[in-house]
């Protein structure tokens, strides 16, 4: 099997599933229970939080455990809007956010908030200048994706954070789901107030995520019903998922040093080989995350490509998994200036630490065969 769909989800490390199993069976007590079984679960949770804080170079009190990227994004965006609506009703984001952000903003629009959707340039980039121009006295939140899930474009988070640091009323949320352990981001130096992470994108289990909430920032909760997670997120804590997530994060961050240069090389090599295949175009910008490559085969439906590759035991995806069932062209690629045909035929190749050159070679061999034969069919040659 060649699994090149690591931006949709990754396979959990065996060590991670071991942890998950052990915690689920041995430390199953409810952290809120007063007896020793509860206490030990609570200790584990406290230590998971400390470990997470250490890995992310923040304070334990700034780590909020959630059910994943979608919840973290929703909580950051709606939680800020509702908490600080007294300060203003203007929100800024981009037109190419992940669905979990974009649709949160659309909901807020229905409630009466005003949302600015910034369009990226041809490389998928939103500049600090663009953000600056859009700021008003009413602005309370800027929310941007760090590493784009379809194209791998990297937003200049550091520069935007710098601009926003002069506007203390404006909070800065970063969707770091694709960037975690792949494209380093220091929350403090980038002056980020809120930041989303999702465990299953770095070989953890599904159903666990983190929202970094800088000390001093308050959020209106989405889920009420208990004092867990400092009252911001009620619900019995997923201790097993959380513990497994921290293990996955530690392992991934450890691997990133050794393996990132390699997957960057593989990524470049696939790009180069693809650009030599007639009928294939490269959509990702030159400057991008090491693990994502977006290409198109104009004229061929991407679903067909995905199926054809799957028959060869090779797995890639169309757009982001969360919107891949829509038949619309990729709004991200449209926003970046690609024509409708290219935007409707995009494929995403997404790598992880242990992908190899041999896999890349086999992929290219199969892929070029499939493109050639499908082209023949489509063009009736």
């Amino acid at each position: 099997m060649i699994y090149f769909d690591n931006s949709a989800t990754t396979r959990p490390y065996p060590e991670v599933t071991d942890t998950y199993l052990k915690v689920s069976t041995e430390y199953f007590g409810n952290p809120s229970s007063l007896h020793p079984l509860g206490k030990i679960s609570e200790r584990l949770l406290v230590q998971a939080r400390e470990r997470a804080a250490e890995l992310l170079k923040v304070n334990p009190s700034e780590i909020l455990f959630t059910s994943g990227g979608t919840e973290s994004n929703n909580l950051a965006i709606k939680g800020t809007a509702h908490q600080y609506q007294g300060r203003g009703n203007h929100l800024i984001t981009s037109s190419t956010e992940h669905a979990s952000s974009l649709e949160a903003f659309q909901q807020l629009e229905k409630e009466g908030f005003r949302v600015s959707y910034l369009d990226p340039d041809n490389n998928g980039i939103i500049t600090a200048e663009q953000v600056k121009e859009e700021l008003t006295d009413e602005t309370i939140l800027v929310s941007l994706i760090h590493v784009h899930n379809e194209t791998g474009s990297i937003q200049p988070v550091q520069e935007i954070g710098e601009v926003l640091s002069h506007h203390p009323k404006v909070l800065f949320h970063v969707d770091h789901v694709q960037g975690a352990a792949k494209v380093p981001l220091d929350f403090r130096t980038a002056k980020v107030d809120l930041c989303t992470l999702s465990a299953h994108k770095f070989h953890g289990m599904k159903g666990s995520g983190i929202l970094y909430v800088r000390n001093g920032v308050r959020l209106h909760s989405l889920l009420s019903g208990g004092s867990q997670e400092r009252g911001i997120r009620a619900g019995t804590e997923n201790v097993a998922g959380v513990t497994a997530m921290i293990k996955a994060l530690r392992m991934s961050m450890g691997k990133s040093e050794t393996f990132l240069p390699q997957i960057r090389k593989i990524n470049r090599w696939i790009e180069q080989e693809c650009s030599n295949i007639p009928g294939v175009v490269i959509n990702s910008p030159e400057e991008r995350a090491p693990h994502i490559l977006n290409i198109s085969v104009p004229g061929i439906k991407p679903e067909v490509m995905v199926q054809a590759l799957a028959e060869k035991d090779i797995y890639v995806s169309t757009k982001s998994a969360c919107s891949s069932r829509e038949t619309e062209p990729s709004r991200t690629l449209i926003a970046m200036g690609y024509d409708k045909e290219t935007a409707s035929s995009a494929l995403r190749i997404s790598l992880t630490y242990e992908n190899t050159f041999e896999e890349a070679e086999r992929f290219i061999a199969e892929f070029s065969d499939i493109v050639a034969s499908l082209k023949k069919v489509v063009n009736k040659q």
Binding site: T19, K22, K39, R43, Q47
Partner: protein, 402 residues
């Protein structure tokens, strides 16, 4: 280029005459222990000053650790360079760009030339380095009276040091220079702050906690261990003595009228703490009492309770308002732990009415009904001592889970 040293300036050490050397030695030990996490660093004493050699360790991370070490007045990241004019110019320019990344603002250069063999004299160097900075930056100007940044250049025998930033240290005296004390650590907001302030004056700290299972549960005990762990950031490892207090408390509850229960209980605690202090070589007790804050902390209560011991009792919070205490607790990171809602031994048998003006005579009379020595010595013998270290935050059995 990057900062490769941190210069440490002492707090009150200069005042201490011939003890100075001992104090410096202690501070050096404390720094070494605090920087264990950065094995590449080295703490060096030379010519009446202290340096940390970073050897590649992250300057920000080391600095944030230094902020918790008592005995440091201030510290500055420093560039250590060889005595070469070009290197010095280059270093000064890098340092000011690091301090003012937007290259806007004012500066001055202050050269100290202890090494008189260096060819250029101080004034010449001020001018030379200043000109080099002006030529190579955009909007910096010189202001010798109120500069935004002072570029300090020290030409010494062995090397040249360049510094631009000064950070404030924690002040106080190096922990371990003032003898040992026993802190009465309850789990509330006050006592950890009292411990912190005692540490600031250089004491070595042990802590004693009264535990009354099953009336106080494991979580209350855990909370106290966690609080002690926070204090290790400032004081290194801490011995925590856990006193089994159930029997004494039950006996007091049975034999003493409600309104004197708190007073007598406190007298017992002091007796036990005194015995533990003697056993462990502590010369004083420390507690978190603040005058008039609660019934047991009125002057009358203190008078009556204090009567049972001759050991000095340090009360760092005695004149503080609750809000001042809370502010310190927040700053040192104990507040969030302290407000966790677990019963401690002071609250479980808390009677509806406590005497705010107890008298020694009556307290002594009520104690006639109790075999004081027996309960005190049993409690002291039952003490369980745990050593709390800064890095024991990951329990062994959890280690492989992460």
């Amino acid at each position: 280029m990057n900062y490769n040293h941190i210069l440490i300036r002492y707090a009150e050490l200069a005042l201490k005459g011939k003890n100075r050397k001992e104090f410096e030695k202690k501070l050096q030990d404390n720094l070494k222990r605090a920087l264990k996490k950065f094995p590449e660093t080295k703490v060096i004493r030379s010519f009446g000053r202290m340096f940390i050699e970073l050897n590649g360790a992250d300057e920000e991370a080391v600095s944030s650790r230094l902020k918790d070490i008592f005995g440091i007045h201030s510290f500055s990241p420093a560039l250590k360079l060889e005595l070469d004019q070009e290197r010095i110019d280059e270093g000064a320019l890098w340092a000011i760009k690091d301090a003012l990344p937007e290259e806007r603002g004012t500066f001055k250069v202050s050269v100290k030339r202890a090494n008189k063999t260096f060819p250029k004299r101080s004034q010449e160097l001020n001018y030379h380095i200043g000109s080099h900075i002006l030529r190579n930056t955009k909007e910096l100007t010189v202001d010798v009276h109120n500069p935004d940044v002072e570029v300090k250049v020290e030409i010494r025998d062995e090397a040249c040091y360049i510094m631009c930033k000064t950070r404030k240290g924690a002040g106080g005296l190096p922990v371990g220079t003032a003898g040992k004390v026993m802190l009465m650590l309850s789990g509330g907001i006050d006592s950890p702050v009292a411990g912190y302030l005692a540490l600031k004056r250089g004491v070595e700290l042990e802590a004693i906690h009264f535990h009354s299972p099953p009336f106080t549960n494991e979580r209350a005990r855990q909370k106290v261990e966690d609080l002690a762990r926070v204090l290790t950031r400032f004081g290194g490892r801490i011995k925590l003595h856990i006193v089994p207090f159930t029997a004494a408390q039950q006996e007091i509850h049975k034999k003493v009228p409600d309104n004197y229960e708190m007073t007598i209980m406190r007298r017992f605690m002091l007796r036990i703490a005194e015995a533990a202090a003697e056993k462990n070589g502590a010369l004083a007790l420390v507690n978190g009492e603040s005058l008039g804050q609660v019934a047991s902390q009125t002057l009358h209560s203190m008078h009556t309770i204090n009567e049972v011991t001759n050991l000095p009792i340090l009360r760092p919070l005695v004149t503080m308002d609750k809000l001042e205490v809370i502010e310190i607790a927040r700053n040192i990171g104990t507040y969030e732990l302290s407000i966790l809602p677990y019963e401690d031994c002071c609250t479980i048998f808390l009677p509806p009415q406590t005497k705010t003006r107890p008298s020694i005579r009556k307290a002594a009379a009520y104690e006639q009904a109790i075999d004081v020595d027996k309960y005190v010595s049993e409690a002291v013998e039952g003490i369980e001592t745990v050593i709390i270290k800064h890095d024991t935050n990951i329990e062994k059995e959890f280690e492989d889970l992460f």
